[in-house]
């Protein structure tokens, strides 16, 4: 029996804008029903990658297959299976919540009783039934985003692509939004591909792809990425941080050392000696902490920091190119 086509298969997918290379070449396989997060600093190519997979941009090179359908040659077949959520909610403020959903259902080709049922189900699923008759412009940002999720899922898509869906949401609405997406996945087997700047949101997904400067710099399960940084991370701040970071090599196995604006983050693994004593022996330390490794550490290590920090600020005992974490033969999520 043939294995089902993956939800997404991208092969060297890239895009240029004039002379700017926005996305170098994305190699990626996303299995059906999985959740994959795309992380990276602003301008890394996340949105370009998502728009290419969503058939809204033409690739400059490579290709993408969505459920086996070519994203360029078979756009209509791809789009029928897609639900899209953009950075800004795509909701018409002059229409009510119900009218927005009805409009979205119509755009996906649904009409009559089918559209009516789909809209009613989406309202129920997202808890928007009580606000169905409210003009969208009267909704708060959180409710607008939930309406946007309802809009994107009204036609029961097999693949949801969400570009920074939680930007500007308070924790309560963020949580509600992820609950909705989890339910989509659980109940309908929807595959989810999303980008985010909130790295904790990506820690529970099946696979994380880190982009920087239009290239994939790491791709793996979150746990695997985090273990590559170390099981624990030592944060050291203060003028003597560099010296203290060096001293840790005498008492622990240092996996990665990353310089940030504030000081150093040192990833360590395995058994360790008395870190506090090693660091405490170094003068001019203003802060010292030990905590489990997070995706943020992976992000800093692989992208060289946030807010346009140059890549050269990150150093590592394993090198910075992410080799050993992804490759053509390791694209499956």
């Amino acid at each position: 029996m043939m294995a089902p086509q993956p939800a997404i298969e991208a092969i060297g997918l890239g895009r240029d804008y004039g002379t700017t290379r926005a996305l170098e070449g994305l190699d990626l396989i996303v299995d059906r029903g999985t959740a994959v997060g795309i992380l990276g600093p602003n301008g890394a190519g996340k949105t370009t990658a998502m728009l290419l997979l969503a058939t809204l941009l033409q690739p400059s090179r490579g290709k993408a297959l969505i459920f086996g359908h070519d994203s360029v040659g078979e756009r209509a077949a791809v789009r029928r299976r897609l639900g899209l959520v953009f950075q800004e909610a795509s909701i018409d403020g002059l229409l009510t919540v119900r009218e927005n959903l009805r409009f979205a259902a119509g755009l996906m080709g649904l009409g009559g009783a089918a559209a009516h049922r789909a809209v009613a189900a989406a309202l129920e699923r997202t808890g928007l039934a009580a606000k169905a008759a409210v003009p969208a412009r009267q909704l708060s940002g959180g409710w607008r985003r939930l309406t946007d999720i309802a809009r994107a899922t009204v036609h029961a898509p097999e693949l949801l692509i969400l570009d920074e869906p939680t930007v500007g949401l308070d924790p309560e609405h963020r949580d509600r939004m992820w609950m909705l997406l989890d339910a989509e996945r659980r109940d309908r087997g929807t595959t989810i591909l999303f980008s985010t700047h909130y790295l904790t949101e990506a820690e529970t997904c099946d696979r994380v792809i880190l982009l920087a400067h239009g290239k994939v710099v790491a791709a793996d399960r979150p746990a695997a990425l985090m273990s590559a940084v170390g099981t624990e991370v030592v944060e050291i701040e203060g003028p003597g941080a560099e010296e203290a970071a060096r001293s840790l090599q005498d008492v622990a196995t240092v996996r990665r050392t990353v310089r940030t604006d504030r000081g150093y983050r040192v990833g360590i693994s395995g058994s360790r000696g008395d870190l506090a004593r090693a660091v405490g022996a170094t003068p001019r330390i203003t802060r010292f902490a030990i905590r489990p490794a997070t995706l943020e550490d992976v992000y800093f290590a692989q992208t060289g920091g946030t807010n346009g920090m140059p890549a050269g600020t990150a150093t590592s005992t394993e090198g910075r190119d992410g080799r050993g974490q992804h490759g053509p033969g390791d694209r499956r999520s």
Binding site: R80, L84, A89, L94, L107, G109
Partner: protein, 259 residues
Amino acid sequence: MGAVNTVRAIVVRDLSRAARQRSRLLGGLVRPFMWLLLVGTGYNAIAHVDGAVSYQAYVFPGMVVMASLFGAMLTAISTVYDREFGMLRLMLASPAGVPTILAGRALAATLVGAFQGAVVLLCLPFVTPVTLGQGIWAGAALLLSAATSSVLGLAVAAPLRSVENFAGVINVVLFPLLFLSGALYPTGGMPLPLRVLARLNPVSYAVDLMRHALGQPTEFGVALSLVVLVATIVLAFALTAVVFDPEQRFTFRHRPARS
């Protein structure tokens, strides 16, 4: 069936928006009535056009076309707003494809333009006697006029990148189309270059067809007007479908500044 549902969704949405933007709707209706009542009354005293009982009666077909022109074109050009505020990308992500999306926009704009023209047309008995046959003919001419205006509006909107150009479009496109159409005065007395431009202006043929429907002397004849208007609709739609860049919204920030 999917494409029909998509067109219907766009039409319903655009009509709902138009109905809820009452000030815009009223503004579109005030313009022709201002001309009829204020300018027309004043001109009645000083202007006499051959074949028309009064300037107001002469200008009436032009006012119907004016109402449909502004209503349809501005609705079609509001595609730029949708592009700017993210609704167009939703439509572009539809499986139906760009031509279907454009058809939906054109149909919605046609209906808005036809409605605004119809409101003016319904006031015709207050200006000049009219038969039922003339009214039906005028209704058909109005639909054709609105359809032409909507497709021209889409063609204008296709290359526009931002709403900042919107006011400029009204001045540079809409007013010349109106002033060179014979809606307000006969074009026969204009200098040759302007007369040529008037002949190239599809709105001239919409006005002429409306004059024919309402029993006024015409310049081009029904057949020529019909051919020109239908050809304009077909060609402008095809041109829009070709020129329309579905990626424009997404590649905007990567392009050098250009108005």
